[in-house]
Subunit: 346 residues, 5 copies
């Protein structure tokens, strides 16, 4: 469960800028996909040779380099040298536990975010890092693992749908960020459904597994919140940055993304409030049920213990017990028993 | 219950500015009502043709276009093109889960709020979106569903009551916002009554349904709070904006609306404090009642268990038990029983 | 109990500036008391005719108009027109649920506060609105109900005690605010005594009524806090305002009032912390007592249930039970009983 | 226990600047001690006549007037007039419930703090007010009660230890503040020891007295926090003030005091966190112990209740009960009893 | 456990700048290690004579003086005089309870941090102070105890690995801070593992020791948080300082350290959230288990108490009890017993 913070200490003692891959190590090879386009043409290819990623090849063209997989640090290092990125940027790219942040450098902006997924089978939140670099005429996107979040953007580029082919490199940059943030809503929806299901279970038939599941989702939310909070700051810093890489007309779209991050944060806070409240309800439900159980016990005991005492009295073997000889003694005991029992029930 | 956040993810992957209606889909057709007035005349009509909404038709007149229903996105789109609104504005208008916000554009201000209703039968909070656009000589109001919140304003316009006919388009804009915010008080009042009822139930006869109702209202408050918090910011931004669309004399009225939103927020926070406190009280009441039950059980058991033991002793069949032969044996047992019972009761 | 927020919605739909009295409706008539003074003379009278309230009547004089009762809105309206007050100011004056606030207008400052009282019989907090307007040469004070808070100031004015007769209109304004805030300490003291009493009850003999009283005082504190928090802001704004109505030498006195409001807020927060902690203690006490009860039950049951079993064994009617024939059988049973009983007690 | 907020309301209705002593009334007389020194000489005397406190008497000398006791308000009043202090300053000096604050006047700075003590016998926090005034060439210190906090400074002055005799009046001012804040650490240490003792008691043998003591220390911390929070602000304001009374070289020492107040606040917050957590632990411990008790009861009852039933069966007096006649009937019952008992124990 | 705040009061009453060692007193002697280097040469030696620490000895060289142990205050004092440090700086260096802080002096910057360690045997957090001074051409590092945190940096210096030998004194300063902060991750990882272990124990087999361990780790986190919070401020102040001692190119590395401190803080907050949630779960688990126990008891009692009563009835010795004579009486009782028992089980 602490998968989000394991082996953070592996880098202690190394000089800054040393590339150490932190995170799960997938087995697939790293793939580099190059898309170059302008409003007329679009070229798309999987490249092996990083040298092929020449932004200058297409006149007035925009180059989008997408790397899936960060576990082969030498690929990242070569690409970094090719594009003139700072060693600290590369270090952050390969660190799967990197907190979302934005850094402006002389000739590029570096931004790293979390990408989320939710496994509805195991009710487990997945997180991976995504780094986005924007330069004068290129965008570099680096994923920890292969994923499908950018597929609709590739589709829009290929089919020249929307404004995307006509706009500049900053619009592509925005579109990628937007795709990642939009993807959060799907994850939140799945978590919302799980919370809803738990809530029903809680009010109908709460047991120890319910408690464990509430605890699990609470923990997922703690981690989710930790990933989402810095996002707001990051997008807000991007809106305000003044490097010249982001054009004025794109800022309104960034404002839109910003609104979405606020909505994501709101929803996470709402979920947290709900789950907290569920724990209180659980405790109340358990107390309630104990109350029911105790009432049954008390009623049974209060009725039958005095009756058993009366039966015990007349089971005594004293030689002189006048009642035992009365002809109506036995029916009288029954009468008393019924009387006492009736009073107790009331 | 999660009706306030369902299907938020439907838009993921679409280009920005694509109009997708999010929210419940009512079956009624979208209606457009056009009111044009100046201090002398007022013309009111339901229009089909959006082209008829010509602000310029009446000299020195103010045009108020009101659209009820956002599920026919093409109507919104046409109107948007007609009035020169940004695609992102239109996208927010048809998104029923949009967070309240204010955006200034070159020639209009866009503001979106939540409208509340409270179903006292089901104790359920209703929310819908309302968008308000102010331009140089028109106000456009868009509701998710048809409603009666603006009816008093229409009445005041028709009867030329108050200052409204003599003031500018910004005063109309203020009046619409004021109507929405004033409407909150009615909803809060109904929730307050429900909380009060629950409080009495809690102290008189708390049961599992009380718990569930406390939980329900707590959740309603979580959602309500999420809708009300951004309101303060929005109204505060409107007060301070400097586009020239809002005149100086109207600002004091906006300050008044601002005070109301603060009061709404205060009340929501007060309700939250109360409901939180009710959960604590519930737990204490349950513990208290368990205590009562346990006391009864303990008293019954402590009195009768020793007595039954005594009766059991003299029910033994030993051949030599001298007490059984004593003439006063049986009365003595009774004496002991009464004595022990009396001591125990004390 | 929700008396502090009832019928807030009565005004929805009315044009702004419509005077609607919100709050309890007392039966007494509204009284207007006029005091005019300078350092030499003082004239005091109850007036019927609002036109008599002429600030100009006394040269270099200060006019203090005090209105007790806001339920006759026409009186307020007339006075407002007489003094040239904005309709929104008048609307706030007659709204008994108005949140404390300060508003600067061109030629006057409007300030509204809560006045508190505490009914020690019912342990109920009372709140009413007080509005204070300062103009160039007059102060207008409006109370929701008649009260005695300003009596010492009238006394000081009549007897020319302290600096008050020699100072300007802003000093009178300060003196009235100071009287209201000073009055809070008395209310807090009474609540403090009630909390102290509850605390003793809690540790000595807690029951369901204790719980209810803790709940009641907690709610009173929620409302009290809501009224006191905005006060700080209001006084702070008054200190900083620059309309020329408040002189430099008076600001140090306003700082003093500000310090008092901070102390009031501190005390309210302290009370809240205490009452919250009392709820926790209550729950612990109840659990503790249940523990005691359960221990008694367990001891009784653990001792007598095995003994009763032994007695039961020798009450069986088997034909062949050798122990029954032993001469020492019966004493042996007693010995075993005493032995087991003794062991159990240990 | 509410000794920190009693009779706050005694002053309501009096004109501002009226000196009313609030707080405990000690019986000893007020003492005034005058120390005048420069780098060569030092004169120290107890004075009766306030007129003797002439800062000008010693050329280039620094005058330190220390007053122990504020209950004779006329002494404070005379001294105030002698030194030219504002009536509001004097009012604050004699108010034992005054919140820590700093006020700059034209020719002096007034600062009031809380002095703490901790009675380890009764585990009771003591608080008294200390006021410090710095003028051009004098420092006036006023204590609510006589105390020993300034003794080391007198010693350092007499023996000319450290820098104190060579530095200006602002350094003396700093030294007095430093002495008061340093004294807090001793009080916190004693509270820390008490918390530690309670923590051990809690985990070893918690009872109702433990609960009461946790509650008591929690309340002490609430009051302590209330006194310490404003301190930070006060020292921070002193660091930044620009009246010319504090020299540049002294500011680094004030920064040091400021660091200490932060550490004091940190420690108080830490204590609060700990005590809060102790209440939770207490509740868990009580539940835990109840669990143990219930387990014993359940085990006893589950074993012996079925056995007693079996014995009861064979105690019935039916004429035809075949088992009673079996020669092995009685041993068989024992066998069944041992069997059932054994199974139950498992 | 209160080892982090013991004897803080030892210094009360002493003049400021008096060096008093606060903290544990190790027995080893204080060691001073001198490293001087430029891009070509490196000299490393353990020195006795503080006079040997001449920054000027190596042209264009950087001097790093490292002192292990602060308990011999005279060593610190001599070094301080040698390098021209302010007495307050020296006082802070030897105070083991010093809160992390940054102070800029005319010709040096002083920074003090906490160094952490975690004893996995005892699950105990260790803390010690580290002070770092940067001057024009030297860095002074002072540790409370000898440690290995700086070993990798010495190694990098010796082997001229990374940029460190080519960069200025500010880069060395950064490298030392970075080493301390990186070391935090290891400690957090160990605590995370302990929390994970406790979480499993909690859901599988919670007992009083679990509770105590949760309480222990909660307290460790309270202290950890207190040490980590000021760190953020300190590093942030260092980033922004403008003394000329920190070069522009080093700031980006400080930003990197800053990001790490944010991540450390995030993790501490996450741990706190988790441990808080564990206490709630514990309480729920205990209630749950009590519920189970009570159910068993209630089932046993509800079944057998009525049955025992029936057996008691027919154990009575009345002369006239017709059922006793019925031939099918005894089997009928058994039938009733089985019937009632069966119904009860259902």
């Amino acid at each position: 469960m602490f998968r989000f913070m394991k082996r953070m200490s592996r880098k202690a003692g190394l000089p800054p800028g040393t590339l150490v891959h932190l995170g799960d190590k997938p087995t697939e090879a790293v793939t580099i996909r190059l898309i170059q386009y302008n409003s007329e043409t679009l070229v798309e290819e999987d490249v092996q040779d990083i040298g092929a990623c020449e932004p200058e090849k297409m006149p007035d063209g925009i180059t989008w380099i997408n790397i899936d997989g960060t576990h082969q640090v030498e690929v990242i290092e070569k690409m970094g040298r090719h594009l003139g990125l700072h060693p600290l940027t590369l270090e952050d790219m390969v660190n799967g536990y990197q907190r979302p942040k934005l850094e402006e450098f002389e000739n590029y902006i570096f931004l790293t975010l979390k990408m989320l997924s939710y496994d509805t089978e195991k009710n487990e939140l997945g997180m991976e890092n995504a780094s986005l670099v924007i330069g004068a005429d290129y965008v570099l996107s680096v994923h920890e693992k292969a994923g499908h979040v950018f597929a609709p953007i590739r589709e829009r580029l290929r089919k020249a749908r929307g404004r995307i082919r006509k706009k500049g490199v900053d619009y592509l940059y925005y579109a990628l960020i937007d795709a990642i943030v939009d993807n959060y809503f799907g994850v939140l929806e799945k978590m919302g459904e799980e919370i809803e299901r738990l809530e029903e279970e809680l009010l109908e038939n709460p047991g120890t597994p319910t408690l464990q599941q509430i605890h699990d989702i609470k923990r997922e939310l703690i981690f989710l919140r930790k990933s989402v909070w810095p996002l707001r700051e990051v997008i807000s810093a991007l809106k305000r940055e003044d490097s010249g890489l982001i054009q004025e007309t794109t800022r309104i779209y960034l404002q839109d993304v910003y609104d979405h991050t606020i909505q994501v944060m709101d929803t996470v806070e709402t979920f947290r409030d709900m789950v907290s409240s569920m724990l209180d309800i659980y405790l109340s439900m358990v107390s309630n049920r104990m109350n029911e159980v105790m009432k049954v016990l008390t009623i049974m005991a209060s009725i039958f213990i005095p009756l058993t005492f009366i039966a015990g009295i007349y089971g005594m073997n004293f030689e002189i017990m006048p009642e035992l000889k009365w002809p109506w003694g036995y029916p009288m005991v029954w009468a008393v028993v019924v009387l006492i029992g009736g009073v107790m029930v009331l």
